[in-house]
Amino acid sequence: MSLITPEFGLLFWQTLIFLLLFLLLAKFAWKPILGSLKEREDSIDEALRMAQNAKLEMQSLKAGNEKLLADARHERDQMLKEGQVIANRLIEQAKTTAVEEASRIAQQAREAIQQEKNQALAEVKNTAAQLSVDIAERVLRRELAEPAAQQNLVDAYLKDIKLN
C-alpha cells in the first residue's frame, strides 16, 4: 500500500527540484541547443538552396557559352564563306578586267597599226604619184620637145573631144 501512496516530502522535493531543473535547462540548455539546431538547419537549407541556384546558374551559363560558341562558329563559317565568295568575285572581276584591258590594248594596237599603215600607204601613194608626175614630166618634156609632136598631140586630143 505504501507503494501507491505518494509521500508528501518526496512530492515537495520533486516539485521543487523538477521546476528548478526545468528552469535551468530551459534557460541554459534547451534555448542554446534548439537555437543552434535551428540555426544549423537554416544554414544547411540556405547552403542547399544556394547550391541549387549555383547549379542552375552554371547550367544557364554553360548553355549561354555553348550558344555563344555555336554562334561564333557559325559566324566564322559565314565569314569564311563570304570571304570565299568575295575572293571568287574579285578573281572573276580581275579576270574580266584583264581580258577587257587586253582586248582594249589589242584594239588600240590594231587601230594604231591601221593608222600607221594608212599613213604609210598614203605616203607611198604620194611618193608614187610624185614619182609618176616627175617621170611623166620628164617623158613629156622629151616627147614634146619638137613642135610637130606637140601638134600631133593636140590633134589627137581634139579628135577625141569631138564637140557634140
Binding site: L10, L24, L25, W30
Partner: protein
C-alpha cells in the same frame, strides 16, 4: 582458455551465492521475498548500497521533520532506522511518525530525493556542457556527447512536438525535452545496482502528470472546452451525459500517465528482483542457471522500456497539449466530420493508448 575462465568465474559466483542462504538461513528462518522486493522498490530514509559478510554499506540520509507544535528538526536517519526513537520520532515501515501521535510533515532527504538531486545535477551538467559544445562548435558537425544526444532532441522536436502540437510547438519544447530526458535518465539510473527507483515512485510520476495537466489546461483554447461541455456532433441528450464523462477524461489522462510510468518501471524492478529471489527461495545455486539469464533478459528489456516510457510520456503530453490547442475546423467541412468528432470524444473518455496514438494523424488533416 577464455571459456574455462568464464566457467570458473561462474562457479565462484554460485559458490558465493550458495554460502549466503545457509548462513542467513540460520539467523532468520523465513526468507520473505515480498518484503525484500518491496523494500527495494520503495523509498527509504537511508541509502543501502549493498551488504557483505562484513556488514552493510549504508549512507544515512538527513531527516528533516516539521511539526506544527515544535517546529523544524533535522537529524541523521542513523538514529531511527533500526526502529529506535529519537526525540519523539520513530520510523514505522519507513514512515516518520511521532510517538505521541501528533502531526508531522516529513521533508526528509530520502533515498529518492537524494537520487533526484543527483540525477538533476547530472542532467544539468550534461545538457549545459552539450549546450556549450553547440556554442563552441557553431557551424560544425556535432561530436561526442552532443552527437549522441542530438538525435533524441531532434526526434522529440520533429516526431513528437511538431506532429502532435502543430505550429505552436516551440513554446512547449523545453518542457517536453526536460520531461523526456528526466524520465529517461532516471529510468536508466534506476536500473543501476544500488540506485533508487525514482521514476517507479508514484509521487514523482504524479507530480510530472500534474504538471502536464497544468500545462495542458493553461494552453487550452475555447474549442477544447466546447468539446468538453457541449460536444459537437452528438445528439442533445447524449451531450449532457458527455459532460461528466469528458470532465473525468481530463483527469484520467494525466492519471494514466502517472500510473503507466510508475507501474512500468516498478514492475520491471519487481520482475528482476523476483528472478533473483528465486535463488533464495529454492535455496539452490543451480536456480541461477534459470534466474540469471531471465534476469539479464528482463534487465536488457528494461533498458528498452526506460526510453520507451520516456518517449510515451512525452508523446502523450505533447498530444494532450496538441488536443488543447487544436482549432475548431469541423463546420467548414460540413457534416462529413461529425463522425470524427464522435471518435475523438470516445478516445478521450476511454483514455486508450492506441486510440490516442492515432490521434495526431487524424488531427493533422
Amino acid at each position: 582458455m577464455k571459456r574455462l575462465l568464464t566457467l570458473f568465474l561462474c562457479l565462484c559466483t554460485f559458490a558465493g551465492f550458495a554460502a549466503e542462504p545457509t548462513e542467513t538461513g540460520k539467523k532468520e528462518e523465513a526468507f520473505n521475498p515480498g518484503q525484500v522486493i518491496l523494500h527495494h522498490v520503495a523509498d527509504s530514509h537511508e541509502w543501502h548500497w549493498f551488504s557483505t559478510d562484513n556488514g552493510n554499506f549504508i549512507t544515512y540520509l538527513p531527516i528533516i521533520a516539521y511539526q506544527p507544535s515544535k517546529g523544524l528538526s533535522v537529524f541523521s536517519s542513523k538514529h531511527i532506522v533500526e526502529g529506535e526513537t529519537y526525540g519523539n520520532f520513530k520510523l514505522e515501515e519507513e514512515h516518520l511518525v511521532t510517538t505521541d501521535g501528533s502531526k508531522v510533515y516529513d521533508f526528509s532527504i530520502t533515498k529518492n530525493v537524494a537520487a533526484l538531486a543527483v540525477s538533476s545535477l547530472v542532467l544539468v551538467i550534461v545538457f549545459i556542457s552539450v549546450a556549450r559544445t553547440y556554442k563552441r562548435r557553431a557551424g560544425q558537425a556535432p561530436s561526442g556527447l552532443q552527437g549522441f544526444l542530438e538525435p533524441f532532441v531532434i526526434f522529440i522536436r520533429d516526431e513528437v512536438a511538431k506532429k502532435s502540437i502543430g505550429p505552436k510547438y516551440e513554446r512547449y519544447m523545453p518542457y517536453l525535452l526536460t520531461v523526456f530526458f528526466f524520465i529517461w535518465f532516471n529510468n536508466l539510473l534506476g536500473l543501476t545496482p544500488g540506485a533508487a527507483n525514482l521514476t517507479g515512485n508514484v509521487a514523482v510520476t504524479a507530480m510530472l502528470a500534474v504538471l502536464t495537466l497544468i500545462v495542458t489546461l493553461f494552453s487550452s483554447n475555447k474549442n477544447y472546452w466546447t468539446h468538453i461541455f457541449w460536444t459537437p456532433g452528438v445528439p442533445l441528450p447524449l451531450r449532457i451525459i458527455m459532460i461528466p464523462v469528458e470532465l473525468v477524461g481530463v483527469i484520467v489522462k494525466p492519471f494514466s500517465l502517472a500510473v503507466r510510468l510508475f507501474a512500468n518501471i516498478t514492475a520491471g524492478h519487481i520482475i528482476i528482483l523476483s528472478f533473483i529471489s528465486l535463488i533464495f527461495i529454492f535455496r539452490s545455486a543451480y536456480t541461477g542457471f534459470l534466474s540469471v539469464p531471465f534476469g539479464l533478459f528482463i534487465s536488457v528489456l528494461e533498458l528498452l522500456v526506460a526510453i520507451l516510457q520516456a518517449y510515451i510520456f512525452t508523446l502523450l503530453t505533447a498530444m494532450y497539449i496538441g488536443g488543447a490547442l487544436e482549432e475548431h475546423h469541423d463546420e467548414e467541412h460540413g457534416h462529413g466530420h461529425e463522425h470524427d468528432d464522435y471518435g475523438f470524444a470516445e478516445e478521450r473518455q476511454g483514455g486508450s493508448n492506441f486510440a490516442n496514438l492515432t490521434k495526431p494523424d487524424i488531427a493533422a488533416h
